[in-house]
Symmetry: C2
Subunit: 343 residues, 2 copies
């Protein structure tokens, strides 16, 4: 167990290091206002803290630097409640004030403001579309051979996909089919679309349209094939400003990772609701072992979940950032809720 004084010393070291990115020495600690002991005393405490693995030296006679374990302890026990400045609060409210009616815009803007306010890189996983419900399905013919299928959900989300009309199918049949589908599938969550069609609508379709098989396959390929969750990234270049990334090799591997969207989607999707902090090697991805990743979730309507994340060096302003993400995620949730209330 840590003594009061050790807690204080640890706190000062981490706070200081987060500010300056420089190893902090005993003397500079002793000169701090809230510290009343001599540098020698502090050296003793530091030796103890080091023994516990909470801080490290970069070389035998350097000042101390927080270890990952130290950051973990800091995040778990030493986080002081943080007050955002008026300016920050203002700029968030400003962002959400103007009416935005589409997910994309809300999410995009949120990513922007988050990275701007933190100088880290924000990554937002767009809302899962699974639970959103079908509002309308439509097919607009472009040429005799091609058409575009459009799908609108109750959240205002629009998916579209162009496809070839197979020769065996007449425009007539296609239209009938769409009518039936609209009739039967209104309000069905997208995630159930597949089974619903097979179990309930399939037979009906067969009786009404010739060449049901082909037509249906095409439609399915056009619409249900892929709904890749979208990533919104803000402040990608902020990483370059951090002194820990003056090594190009690190930047390279980190950027390479960020280009693999599917991996990131997977990473973020697996998080549970609430705020989570992953420090350094707690991240499984190799390229992120010098980084911390903070994730928070936002809700949409009942339980729909998207994730907002912030990527920075392990030396992160945890308290500020966590506060910020709290505010933002609830702001997003509120915005979405307000849409639902009108329904």
């Amino acid at each position: 167990m840590l003594t009061e004084r050790q807690l204080l010393v640890l706190q000062v070291i981490i706070d200081e290091f987060i500010q300056t990115a420089q190893p902090v020495g005993s003397r500079s600690i002793s000169k701090k206002g809230e510290v009343t002991f001599s540098s020698a005393t502090i050296r003793n405490e530091m030796a103890d803290l080091e023994e516990m693995g909470l801080i490290e030296k970069t070389h035998s006679s350097s000042g101390r630097v927080p270890s990952e374990k130290g950051y973990r302890f800091y995040v778990d026990h030493l986080l002081s409640p943080f007050r955002l400045s008026n300016k920050e609060i203002h700029s968030i409210q400003e962002t959400f004030r103007d009416q935005m009616l589409e997910f994309e815009r809300v999410v995009q803007k949120s990513a922007g403001i988050l990275s701007d306010l933190t100088n880290y890189t924000s990554i937002i996983l767009g809302p899962e579309v699974f639970e959103t419900k079908l509002k309308q399905l439509q097919i607009v013919p472009l040429t005799p051979q091609t058409a575009v299928a459009i799908l609108v959900t109750n959240t205002g989300h629009v998916e579209h996909r162009a496809f070839n009309i197979p020769q065996e199918i007449e425009a007539n049949d296609l239209e009938k089919m769409v009518n039936i589908l609209n009739d039967r599938l209104y309000g069905v969550p997208l995630v159930q679309l597949h089974e619903k069609i097979f179990n309930e609508v399939g037979d009906l379709l067969k009786t009404h349209t010739r060449n049901y098989e082909q037509a249906f396959q095409y439609l399915q390929a056009a619409l249900l094939n892929e709904q890749p969750a979208k990533l919104y990234v803000g402040g990608k270049t902020n990483i370059l400003m951090q002194p820990e990334f003056k090594d190009l090799e690190k930047v390279r591997s980190l950027y390479a990772m960020m280009e693999k969207e599917s991996e990131i989607v997977h990473l973020l999707r697996s998080e549970h609701p609430g705020i989570h902090v992953k420090i350094g090697h707690e991240n499984e991805v190799d390229a992120m072992q010098d980084c911390s990743l903070i994730t928070a979730s936002y809700a949409l309507g009942d339980d729909q979940i998207g994730t907002i994340a912030l990527l920075g060096p392990t030396r992160m302003e945890y308290n500020r950032v966590i506060k910020l993400m709290n505010v933002l995620s609830s702001e997003m949730t509120d915005t979405f809720k307000s849409w639902y209330q009108g329904e």
Copy 2:
């Protein structure tokens, strides 16, 4: 005017430097197969070339490096016709083989393949939507207060925008309005939509719908407000691999520039049809003064123009890259043309 031999020396220097990124010395040139003179002779020629400003030294006793003027000369006069390898041709054809029916996919894939094959950064300016024609306009109500407006063009392009329905307007009116618009505006190029509505359709609408003014304003805001040209960027991280960008500061400014989409759109849009090469300071943007930008245009149907661009260091494989962009732009043009033929 340059002698045969000077041309040869210049060619070898630039070819060599493009390969190695190292200053090339007289001795290494003399050892080349196609060169038959001694290093001393070459030194004399190099002195002349330097006097003409075509090559430079990095310091008083270093090998030579092409100057921007040298690259310019190289591009204008020394470009040997380049044969793509079978592998490259194959991978391009492969990309365009599978049926893609949407601009986005074609352009996206093109950007990908271009950056993959060159190891530079590709930037493609999506096709201008101005000349594309309205196919269908539609409004899907989401809640009593909100709806999403969808616009489909003859190219299969889909724009959508959610908006608030003002209380004064009844769903009925909105529907009427859409019907009228669809009826009258079918096949009208998007760029003419504005005036067409004002001049021809406005009166008709007024007589049929109450609260025409508001309804119309809303619809207009929803659909016509912005159609920002989309940028598709591929291989952003390739820049990091280039030895000339081991200086973080350069990378930073370059990346910062690339985040300003509007600026790039402006830059690319101003190009005339055909292939253009801008070397170093020929680029007006500060951050690009160590880069070369190669642009080519692609056509869509008659005269619609989009731009594909490639950003790399001035030390670029010009002949290969130019060939590649030629192939790609015509491949894109062909793809789009095939869509039109079916119409």
